[in-house]
């Protein structure tokens, strides 16, 4: 029972192979097996969004995904991959400039939701921006500065940054 599973994924643009029990949460594979500790665990129950990453273009919470369900060749983007993209760097700078982070614990997940939203290149509005972050809880900022940071980044979003 429960043999180890091997997967090769493209994580933040790099090919990585990893072996794990298939029921292991993607969060644990990222943090413990691959030492990508930028992704955080808050609740472990899908409520807080601190563990948010992008898998094959889809925004997911990695605490609720059995890593064995992620197929070979999948493209995964974590907070560590942000700075490799123009849009990601823009977002980071915007979060900093607007003072959008306080304790910072929610930010690795929050900013993945921001990146996912903006990189889709769809029309934006304040309600859309807010709703896109509804799955991310922040206990510090009251969200206003985060919304400002996202709106500011949206204005200068690089045209080339299509799908994540």
């Amino acid at each position: 029972m429960n043999p180890e599973t091997e997967r090769t994924w493209i994580i933040n643009g790099e090919k990585m192979s990893v072996t794990f029990p298939p029921g292991r949460r993607l969060l644990d594979v990222l943090r413990e097996d691959l030492k990508l500790t930028g992704t955080k665990e808050g609740c472990g129950e899908g409520e807080c969004g601190a563990c948010t990453v992008i898998v094959d273009g889809e925004l997911i919470v990695s605490c609720l995904l059995a890593a064995g369900q992620v197929p070979d060749g999948a493209e995964i983007m974590t907070v560590e991959g942000l700075e490799k993209t123009e849009g990601g760097r823009l977002l980071q700078a915007s979060y900093v400039e607007k003072g959008a982070a306080q304790c910072g614990f929610c930010i690795p997940g929050m900013i993945m939701s921001s990146y996912h939203l903006l990189s889709r290149g769809e029309p934006l509005s304040q309600p859309i921006i807010r709703e896109a972050h509804a799955g991310n809880i922040c206990r510090c900022t009251g969200y206003e500065k985060i919304m400002e940071a996202v709106s500011a980044a949206a204005e200068h979003w690089p045209k080339s940054e299509a799908k994540s």
Partner: protein
């Protein structure tokens, strides 16, 4: 770093490539537990509310569960369709607008991307936001095993508290809903502590048609007031053929409050839920007099 076993880490994971292959695995003497988006199952296992199954059968990769197809006056939604896919599907937007509203309120973006309609149904929670809609859309649940397929009307599928008409060797394959008839209107309302990521205190859906001020048809369902989501047959029978007047609305409100037998729990009291059941029905009927489109929407409301 020392690693403790989390959630379903000790479980085996089966990854069938097709539905027939999955059904063959489900036919084994000790069938595996289906795993779709994991937004209920993983949470229950992590929280210790459920023993991690020895074997999980992943449904995510099955092509047969993914489609959404329109035919005549119905839309068939594969059990593996996610809330996000349903919400953005062109035919569903037109034919089942109340479903779009209901799935739009499930969790945040991540949960909508992961969670499936099949998982919502199989989870069988009386607080689920999808079953009440399926009741007013006269949905039929399609379940399959290696022995064949069964088509079960949603009313019969929801048996009791967390009890559904699904055998251990069966999978939910699809849900087929009747599209909103010409000239009819449907809407929805959820009351919870806040808009996103909150379990409902009470929620309801309606689908009705009113011609020249007379109620031609009216279906209404409520969630979180009984062990399963329910229709309100007494209210519906009373309304058909009546003029849409204040007297009619007041009597429907009274009947709705009287006909539900909710419980008190951590999220709300029985008295509050009875009262709100009546108010929801009043609101649904009043929306016709105002002539506004579609849904009443969601409301944060503390009890």
């Amino acid at each position: 770093m020392s690693v403790s076993l989390r959630c379903v880490e000790a479980s085996d994971l089966l990854l069938p490539g097709s539905l027939p292959e999955a059904l063959a695995m489900m036919a084994e003497p000790e069938p595996p537990t289906p795993l779709a988006g994991g937004t209920d199952l993983m949470v229950q296992c992590e929280a210790g509310a459920r023993k991690p199954p020895a074997r999980l059968l992943s449904l995510k990769q099955l092509p047969e569960l993914k489609g959404i197809d329109e035919a005549d006056d119905t839309i068939r939604i594969g059990a593996g369709a996610t809330h996000w896919q349903i919400r953005n599907h062109a035919d569903v937007k037109v034919g089942l607008p109340g479903l779009v509203e209901a799935v739009s309120m499930v969790g945040g973006r991540q949960i909508q991307t992961m969670g499936t309609i099949g998982g919502s149904l199989a989870n069988g929670s009386p607080a689920g936001d999808i079953a009440p809609y399926l009741l007013i859309a006269d949905a039929v649940v399609e379940v399959a095993s290696i022995e064949g397929t069964r088509q079960i009307p949603i009313r019969n599928f929801l048996i009791d508290y967390r009890k559904i008409d699904l055998k251990p060797n069966e999978l939910i394959v699809a849900v087929t809903c009747k599209v909103l008839p010409e000239g009819a209107k449907e809407g929805w309302r959820k009351l919870g502590p806040r808009a996103a990521q909150a379990i409902s205190k009470i929620m309801g859906n309606y689908r009705g048609k009113i011609v020249d001020g007379v109620i031609e048809s009216f279906a209404v369902s409520l969630g979180s007031v009984a062990p399963t989501a329910i229709r309100l047959p007494e209210v519906e029978a009373f309304l058909v053929g009546k003029p849409l007047s204040e007297e009619t609305i007041a009597e429907a409100e009274r009947l709705a409050s009287a006909s539900v037998k909710p419980i008190s729990d951590i999220r709300s009291t029985a008295e509050y839920r009875k009262w709100v059941a009546g108010r929801l029905v009043r609101g649904f009927l009043t929306s016709f007099t105002k002539g506004n489109e579609g849904s009443e929407g969601s409301e944060g409301c503390e009890s």
